[in-house]
């Protein structure tokens, strides 16, 4: 049986980074990717937050195929015919070390895989890992078609939809309450149109996070500016989706038909339609990260920070892969790869700032279970402002009166207060 020191399953941000780090340390590493080219199976519905990534890939923005530095964030509540936005712009986010970048995975992932190869890792693409080889409860390698390949340790970085851990009985099935489906279009637009429409320059861009206009289905939408295209999509919880009886592409259509979204995508040409599941990322959903002979990194390990305002998957994947690699090197030094020796990965991960953030925002996940956040409040915000900003021929009222009018028959003051407290607990306190 052919043998490597380490086999990495998946050449996404987690897999490529683990492969690079271990190869740099002199290990004999094999990275196996199921797509014919890395990235061809991958879809991003988020941003690449740069600080943690730059610790691993210094000044990566000079070399990596990123799209635009995100210097404008719009948090928008979409009512039926209204939109209420918080518009944040930062000149600092437009300069090194930046804050976040829009990316397209079919471009980014091949670059990451190349970094692993240049460090000395072997990459094979277009090959499925059919199973983890397990002997006496210990992972000892992989089955890929007719080939069995052995390794001291396997890094499972197979992504959200990956089935290896499930097949091997190392994780339970996904719960439709904890997983969302993202559907996305890439819409081509000339750079000068993007720059004028989104008020940015040649290198910078904008990110929109939108709630409402998903027809009451729990979830939200996003719009990111790429160099010469927009990434436009909705992310909806799977249980809420099938309860709604609406097709995902219809929810995307309705979202795109909202007057605000329509204006932003106007004149663009859809060039790709994609879909991807994403774990809701609750801290309480943390999965088992190590076992005898294996570690799990990236979204396969459900590592995702989501506090409504920021969704951090790719940088968490990269951070987790670095810590996993360090733990493997430490286990190698100790000469054994058991759950106990590899367990150092968990301790290392807990010491990272991104893990701390994950804990800090653990109460924010409850917000995403509150249906009023997706249906009632976006409309309510628009209605209150409409009452305040419209010069009617009938007498108006102050803000509280306007809110009281808008609330009538929809929610009680008690419900509103409880929800505000929940938002405060999730985001503020």
């Amino acid at each position: 049986m052919e043998r490597f020191d380490v086999i990495v399953v998946g050449a996404g941000p987690a897999g490529a980074t683990a492969g690079r780090a271990l190869a740099q340390a002199g290990l004999n590493v094999l990275v196996v990717e199921r797509a014919a080219t890395p990235g061809a199976k991958n879809v991003s519905g988020g941003l690449l937050y740069s600080r943690a990534v730059a610790e691993v890939y210094p000044e990566f923005w000079k070399h990596a195929p990123i799209e635009r530095a995100i210097a404008a964030h719009q948090i928008v509540m979409l009512g039926e015919h209204t939109s209420t936005a918080l518009d944040f712009r930062s000149a600092q986010a437009a300069t090194p070390p930046f804050n976040a970048f829009s990316v397209l995975r079919a471009k980014l992932d091949p670059w990451l895989a190349t970094q692993a190869e240049e460090a000395g890792a072997s990459l094979i693409s277009g090959v499925n890992v059919d199973a983890l080889l397990v002997e006496n409860g210990r992972v000892v390698g992989i089955q890929a078609g007719p080939d069995q390949i052995g390794a001291d340790v396997v890094v499972v970085a197979e992504g959200t939809a990956g089935l290896l851990l499930k097949q091997a009985g190392l994780r339970g099935p996904h719960n439709p309450h904890d997983v969302s489906l993202g559907v996305k279009e890439v819409i081509a637009l000339p750079p000068d149109v993007i720059e004028e429409r989104f008020q940015c320059d040649a290198e910078t861009g904008a990110a929109y996070t939108l709630v409402g206009s998903t027809g009451g289905v729990e979830g939200g939408g996003f719009i990111y500016t790429n160099k010469a295209s927009l990434s436009v999509g909705v992310v909806v919880k799977i249980d809420s989706l099938y309860a709604s009886g609406r097709h995902p592409h219809e929810i995307l259509d309705a979202f795109k038909a909202h007057p605000l979204v329509q204006r932003l995508v106007r004149g663009g040409e859809v060039v790709e339609y994609s879909a991807q599941t994403v774990h809701r990322g609750g801290f309480h959903l943390a999965t088992q990260l190590v076992g005898d002979g294996y570690v799990v990194a990236g979204s396969a390990a459900r590592l995702l920070v989501n506090n409504v305002l920021t969704l951090r998957g790719m940088d968490f994947a990269i951070t987790s892969a670095v810590e996993a690699a360090q733990a493997i090197l430490q286990a190698r030094f100790a000469g054994s790869y058991t759950a106990a020796t590899l367990g150092n990965y968990v301790e290392r991960l807990k010491a990272t700032s991104i893990y701390q953030d994950w804990r800090t925002f653990k109460d924010a996940y409850g917000l995403m279970e509150n249906p009023r956040l997706f249906s009632l409040y976006p409309d309510l915000a628009g209605e209150v402002l409409e009452r305040l900003l419209t010069a009617d021929t009938k007498p108006g009222s102050k803000a509280l009166g306007a809110l009281s009018e808008a609330l009538k028959g929809k929610a009680s003051w008690l419900t509103l207060s409880q929800d505000m407290l929940q938002i405060a607990r999730g985001m503020v306190l």
Binding site: R34, A35, A36, T37, G39, A40, K41, N42, V43, S44, L104, R105, A106, K107, D109, S125, G126, V127, N128, G145, T160, A161, L163, P173, H174, N175, P176, V179, L181, V183, E185, V186, S229, I238, D239, L241, Y242, S244, G245, R246, H247, P248, H249, D253, K256, A257, P259, Q262, R263, R266, G267, V270, V271, E272, Y273, S274, A275, Q276, T277
Partner: protein, 102 residues
């Protein structure tokens, strides 16, 4: 802004037509236990799939696996909201969707 300035939304078929696939003509990567589907009253697969791979035709589920975007939603939806009739595998190495942007 007038309605006339808007391009109509693309149909789902037109959208899928934009995507690049390496179709495995030999085998489907999706297995369905049709007996289970017969007794299924909810059939969430018909709703949840972003590519409408699953259609109820002639009293059974027809599976257009060649359109699959490989998100895995059907498996999750069927396991929990249906009868656990779907077994979704990843397509054979190199086959299936090949995103050009992602």
């Amino acid at each position: 802004m007038t309605a006339a300035s808007q391009k109509p939304q693309l149909s789902l078929d037109a959208r899928l037509g934009l995507d690049r696939y390496e179709i495995d003509a030999e085998q489907s990567h999706i297995a369905v236990d049709h007996d289970k589907c017969k007794t299924c009253t909810t059939r969430p697969c018909l709703v949840c799939c972003p590519a409408i791979v699953y259609r109820w035709t002639d009293e059974r589920v027809a599976v257009a696996y060649e359109n699959c975007l490989e998100c895995g939603t059907c498996q999750i939806a069927c396991d929990h909201g249906g009868r656990g009739a779907i077994t979704w595998h990843i397509p054979a190495g190199g086959f299936g969707i090949a995103f050009r942007y992602g």
